[in-house]
C-alpha cells in the first residue's frame, strides 16, 4: 500500500504546526486522557495537545522521580516534561486516569510548576450523581481557562467545538469502515499515525486531515491480509509497533486502543446545555478499564468491534506494570475466546527495541495458530 501525501508520521513533539500556532500568538494546553473534553479547550480558543512520547525511549530524568515499577509510557512522557521538550505548553490538565498517570502529573507539576494547572477529576462510574459531579468539574475547568487566558467560553463557541469534534468522530468512523473492508484500504498503523498527528490539532484541521486522507485512499486498491487482527490495550503512540506487526502480513483492521477507536467513542447527546452534553457524552463512553461496574459495556464494545471487522484474532498489548489492563486482559481473553476469537496477551515496555523482536516472534506464532501465518 502506498503512503499518501496526507499522512506524514509525526516525529516531533513541538511540531511545525504547533510552532506556527504559537508564533501566531496561540496558546497550547496539554492533556493526556480521553476523558478530557477537548471541545472545552478548543472553545476557549486554545490548542488541545494530547501528551505523547512519540517513541522516546529515554527516561533517565523521569526514573529519578518515578520507579521502574511505573509505566514506561508515563515515564517517557515525564522525561519530555522534565527535559524541557514540553515547555511550549501554556497549561496542563491532569486526570485521574490511572495510578501511573497521577504520579507522572504530580512529579511534573512539582518540578515545572505550571501556572495554569487543572486536575480534572473523572468519576469511575457513570451514574446520575457522578455525572452531576463531572459536569461541575467541567464548569471549574471552563472557569479556570477563562481566567488564565482572559477569554470567555460562550455557549456558541462550545456548540461550534462540539460540532467540530463530532465531525472528527464521523471521519474516524468512515476511516474505520475503510479498515474493515475485506481488502482494507487503510491499515492499523496508518490509522494510529493519523490519530497521533490529529491529537495535537484543532478539530477543523483534524477533520480536514482525515477527509484528505480518505479522498486519496478512495480509489486505491486494498490489501489482502493473511490475518485480520484487532488490537486492544492502553494509550500507545508507537506506530512502529503496528507497522512491524503488519509487515508480518496481518492487518490490524480494528482496535480498542486509547490512541485509537476508544478516543472517538463518545456518544454526544443531541439536546441540552453544552456542558451537560459534554459531561454525559464523555463520562458515559469511557471504554477504559479505569471504569468500574462497566466491564459488560466494555466487553460489548470490544466484541461488537471485533465482529464488525470480522477479525481472525485479537492481540491485547499493554505496557508492563499496567494493573488496569493487566487484569482486564484476563477477562477480555476469556470472553473473546468464548466467542470464538483467539487472543494473544502480551506485555511490553514502551518503545523498547529489545521487546520488539520478542513480540514479533509471539505474533508470528499466534498468526500460525489462527491460520494466518506467512
Amino acid at each position: 500500500m502506498e503512503a499518501t501525501r496526507a499522512l506524514e508520521r509525526e516525529t516531533e513533539i513541538f511540531n511545525q504546526r504547533v510552532r506556527e500556532w504559537k508564533e501566531a500568538g496561540g496558546k497550547v494546553v496539554g492533556y493526556s486522557c480521553v476523558a478530557t473534553p477537548v471541545e472545552l479547550i478548543e472553545a476557549a480558543g486554545l490548542l488541545p495537545y494530547r501528551i505523547k512520547a512519540l517513541g522516546n525511549a529515554e527516561t533517565e530524568l523521569a526514573d529519578g522521580e518515578m520507579s521502574l515499577f511505573n509505566c514506561s509510557f508515563c515515564r517517557a512522557c515525564l522525561q519530555l516534561g522534565l527535559d524541557g521538550t514540553y515547555d511550549f505548553l501554556d497549561g496542563l490538565i491532569e486526570t485521574n486516569g490511572c495510578d501511573h498517570l497521577r504520579a507522572m502529573f504530580e512529579n511534573w507539576q512539582h518540578q515545572r510548576r505550571f501556572d495554569c494547572f487543572f486536575y480534572l477529576k473523572v468519576p469511575h462510574f457513570f451514574r446520575d450523581d457522578s455525572l452531576a459531579y463531572f459536569e461541575e468539574n467541567l464548569s471549574l475547568l471552563k472557569e479556570l481557562l477563562e481566567n488564565k487566558f482572559s477569554v470567555e467560553v460562550t455557549d456558541d463557541a462550545l456548540e461550534e467545538a462540539i460540532r467540530g469534534w463530532e465531525e472528527v468522530r464521523e471521519g474516524w468512523r468512515r476511516l474505520s469502515a475503510l479498515r474493515e473492508l475485506d481488502e482494507p484500504k487503510v491499515t492499523g498503523s496508518e490509522a494510529l499515525s493519523l490519530e497521533v498527528t490529529g491529537s495535537s490539532m484543532r478539530s477543523e484541521d483534524f477533520a480536514a486531515l482525515l477527509a484528505r486522507y480518505m479522498d486519496e485512499k478512495a480509489g486505491s486498491v486494498g490489501v489482502r491480509p493473511t490475518a485480520r487482527l484487532m488490537l486492544c490495550g492502553p494509550a500507545t503512540d508507537e506506530v512502529e509497533w503496528l507497522e512491524e506487526i503488519e509487515r508480518l502480513g496481518a492487518v490490524v483492521v480494528a482496535d480498542a486502543l486509547c490512541f485509537g477507536s476508544r478516543a472517538f467513542a463518545q456518544a454526544m447527546p443531541k439536546d441540552g446545555p453544552p456542558l451537560r452534553r459534554l459531561a454525559e457524552g464523555y463520562l458515559s463512553s469511557i471504554f477504559c478499564p479505569r471504569m468500574y461496574l462497566e466491564y459488560p459495556k466494555r466487553r460489548e464494545f470490544i466484541l461488537e468491534t471485533a465482529r464488525r471487522a470480522r477479525v481472525n484474532g485479537a492481540i491485547y498489548l499493554y505496557n508492563k506494570f499496567c494493573d488496569l489492563h493487566g487484569v482486564d486482559s484476563v477477562l477480555v481473553r476469556r470472553d473473546l475466546e468464548s466467542a470464538g476469537i483467539p487472543v494473544l496477551v502480551l506485555e511490553k515496555e514502551y518503545s523498547a527495541r529489545a521487546d520488539l523482536g520478542r513480540v514479533k516472534t509471539r505474533v508470528q506464532a499466534f498468526m500460525e495458530r489462527i491460520g494466518g501465518g506467512a
Binding site: G64, E65, M66, S67, F69, N70, C71, N96, C98, D99, H100, R102, A103, M104, E106, N107, H110, Y119, K121, P123, H124, F125, D129, S130, Y133, E136, P289, R290, Y292, L293, Y295, K320, F321, C322, D323, L324, G326, V327, D328, S329, V330, L331, R333, V345, E347
Partner: protein
C-alpha cells in the same frame, strides 16, 4: 520435606485451614512457659516457627497475642457460620471501616487482606502459593500482592465463599479495586463500590457522603435489612471506645524508650481492619494500653538500649513476624507505626442516624491509604501525614517498604524522601520487597539493610545531635530558669 504441622493440601481452603490452627491456639493455656513456647516451635514446620516466635517469644507479646488470637478466632467462627445463620458474608478490603457492616443485622464482613495475612503466617507455602495461583489465572505479576493474595483463597476454594464483595479503592488504588472487581466477575457475585473522589474540598466530601448513603441503600436492598439507627449507635459507641484507647496508645508510643512492643503494630492493623465496632477491638486495645503502661512504669525495654525509632512510611512486611517485629525489637529498633496506623476520627456525635453516617463518611474518607492514595495529591498528602506522625512520635528515621510494585508510593517516593529530609532532617531507607511474598527480598537481606542503616546513618545522626547539644569545651552551661 517431611510434612509436619499444618500443611495445606490441594483442594483445601486456606481459610478453613487457618481456622483449624486458630482453634488449636484457642486451646493453649493462658500462662505459657518458655518451655511451652519452645515445644510449640519445635512442633511446627520451619516457616511457621517464625510465627510462633514472633507472637509468643517475648513475654509482653505472649500475653497480648494469645488473648487477641482467641478473640479473633471467635470472629472467624462467626464468619464461617454467618451464611448458615442467614447472614450475608461480604468480603471487604483493608481500606474500609468494617464498622459500617457490623451496623447491619444480617451482614458479616471479612477482610480479605486479614484472611490473606493469616494464611500467610500459619499455612505451609505462605503467601507464595496464593500468588502463584493468581499468576496461573493469567493475572499480571505486578499487582499488589496484599489484595491478590488476600482474595485468592476465595478463588481456590472449596470453603468459604462470600455473597458479595465490596471495595472503596476506585479512585485511590487501581490494583486493589481491579482485583476486587475481578473477584466479583470470576465468582459471579455482586460487587458494591464506594468511590473516593480525589477531591478534598467540601464538594468532594459532600459527594462522598452522598455516595456512602447510596452505598448503604444498595446494601440494604440487597441484604433485605435496614441499617437500624439503634444498632448503628451501639457500633459507633464501641468504635469510639476503641478510638479513645487508640489515642492513648499513640501517646504511649512517644515515650523513650518506646514501651509499646513492636508486634502491637500488627495487632492494631488487624483490629482496625476486621474488629473495629465490636467489643473485641475495645478489649484488645485496652489490654495493649495496659501492657504498654505497665512497661512504661517499670522502664521495660527489650533491648539494652533504644538505638533507633523508625517510622515505616508505607506498610510492614507481614510474612515473618519474628524476623520483622521481634528482630527489630531485640536490636533496639522501635517501630512507631506505618501508613495504616494513622487514623483520623471526627468528634463523636451519636445524636442521629445522619450524624453517625456523616462521621462514618469522614472516617472512610480519611481511612489510611484511602486518605493518602485517594488524595488530590498523593505525594503531598502522604508526605504531610507521615511527617506529622514521625515528628509527633519522635522518629529518628524512616523506612520505606511494603508491596513490591506499589505504583503510587514508588511513583512519588523520590519526592517523598527528598522532602522528608528537607523538612525534618529524617533519612529514609528504601527497601524493595513485599508484604506477603518473601521471594522478592528475603528477611535476612531486610535485616542486613536495616542494621547497616541504623549503624551507619541513624547512630551517626544521633551522635551528631548529641555533640551539637553538648557545650563546647570551656563554654559555660546555659543558665536555667
Amino acid at each position: 520435606m517431611m510434612e509436619k504441622g499444618f500443611v495445606m493440601r490441594e483442594g483445601e481452603n486456606g481459610f478453613e485451614r487457618a481456622l483449624a490452627i486458630l482453634e488449636m491456639i484457642y486451646k493453649l493455656p493462658d500462662n505459657l512457659s518458655e518451655e511451652d513456647v519452645e515445644a510449640a516451635r519445635n512442633f511446627v514446620y520451619p516457616e511457621l516457627q517464625n510465627t510462633v516466635i514472633g507472637l509468643l517469644e517475648l513475654p509482653a507479646d505472649r500475653e497480648l497475642e494469645l488473648f487477641f488470637f482467641r478473640l479473633l478466632m471467635n470472629i472467624f467462627r462467626e464468619a464461617r457460620n454467618a451464611q448458615a445463620e442467614g447472614k450475608k458474608l461480604v468480603f471487604i478490603p483493608f481500606t474500609f471501616p468494617p464498622e459500617i457492616f457490623y451496623a447491619f443485622d444480617n451482614i458479616f464482613p471479612l477482610c480479605t487482606e486479614i484472611v490473606g495475612g493469616l494464611i500467610t503466617n500459619i499455612c505451609y507455602g505462605q503467601g507464595e502459593r496464593f500468588w502463584d495461583f493468581a499468576m496461573g489465572l493469567g493475572l499480571p505479576d505486578s499487582l499488589c500482592s496484599a489484595n491478590t493474595i488476600g482474595t485468592m483463597p476465595l478463588f481456590m476454594g472449596p470453603g468459604i465463599r462470600p455473597d458479595a464483595i465490596v471495595y472503596n479503592s476506585a479512585g485511590s488504588c487501581n490494583p486493589n479495586a481491579k482485583i476486587h472487581a475481578f473477584a466479583s466477575d470470576y465468582l459471579g457475585i455482586p460487587q458494591f463500590i464506594l468511590e473516593k473522589p480525589v477531591d478534598e474540598s467540601r464538594r468532594g466530601r459532600e459527594l462522598y457522603y452522598n455516595y456512602l448513603k447510596r452505598f448503604i441503600q444498595e446494601l440494604e436492598e440487597w441484604s433485605g435489612s435496614e441499617l437500624r439507627e439503634e444498632r448503628l449507635r451501639e457500633v459507633m459507641e464501641r468504635s469510639y471506645q476503641a478510638v479513645d484507647l487508640y489515642h492513648e496508645y499513640w501517646e504511649l508510643k512517644k515515650a523513650r524508650p518506646c514501651p509499646v512492643p513492636n508486634i502491637f503494630s500488627m495487632t492494631l492493623l488487624v483490629l482496625r481492619s476486621q474488629c473495629w465496632g465490636r467489643q473485641e477491638a475495645v478489649d484488645v486495645m485496652q489490654r495493649m494500653v495496659d501492657i504498654s503502661k505497665e512497661r512504661l512504669r517499670r522502664g521495660e525495654y527489650t533491648a539494652p538500649e533504644e538505638l533507633a525509632r523508625v517510622y515505616i512510611t508505607y506498610i510492614y512486611w507481614l510474612f515473618d513476624f519474628a524476623g520483622y517485629f521481634t528482630w527489630m525489637e531485640k536490636e533496639g529498633i522501635s517501630i512507631l507505626g506505618d501508613i495504616l496506623a494513622i487514623h483520623y476520627f471526627p468528634e463523636k456525635d451519636p445524636s442521629s442516624r445522619e450524624s453517625m453516617l456523616r462521621a462514618l463518611a469522614d472516617i472512610a474518607f480519611d481511612y489510611p491509604m484511602t486518605r493518602q492514595m485517594g488524595a488530590e495529591s498523593i505525594s503531598l498528602r502522604w508526605l504531610d501525614d507521615i511527617a506529622y506522625a514521625a515528628q509527633d512520635l519522635g522518629a529518628d528515621a524512616c523506612i520505606f517498604g511494603g508491596v513490591h510494585a506499589c505504583k503510587h508510593t514508588l511513583g512519588t517516593a523520590a519526592f517523598f524522601r527528598r522532602e522528608m529530609m528537607k523538612r525534618l532532617g529524617l533519612p529514609t531507607l528504601m527497601i524493595y520487597g513485599d508484604v506477603f511474598d518473601k521471594r522478592h527480598t528475603p528477611m535476612e537481606m531486610f535485616q542486613e539493610e536495616v542494621k547497616t542503616f541504623v549503624e551507619q546513618v541513624v547512630a551517626r545522626k544521633r551522635a551528631q545531635s548529641r555533640r551539637r547539644k553538648a557545650p563546647a569545651p570551656g563554654a559555660s552551661a546555659p543558665e536555667r530558669g
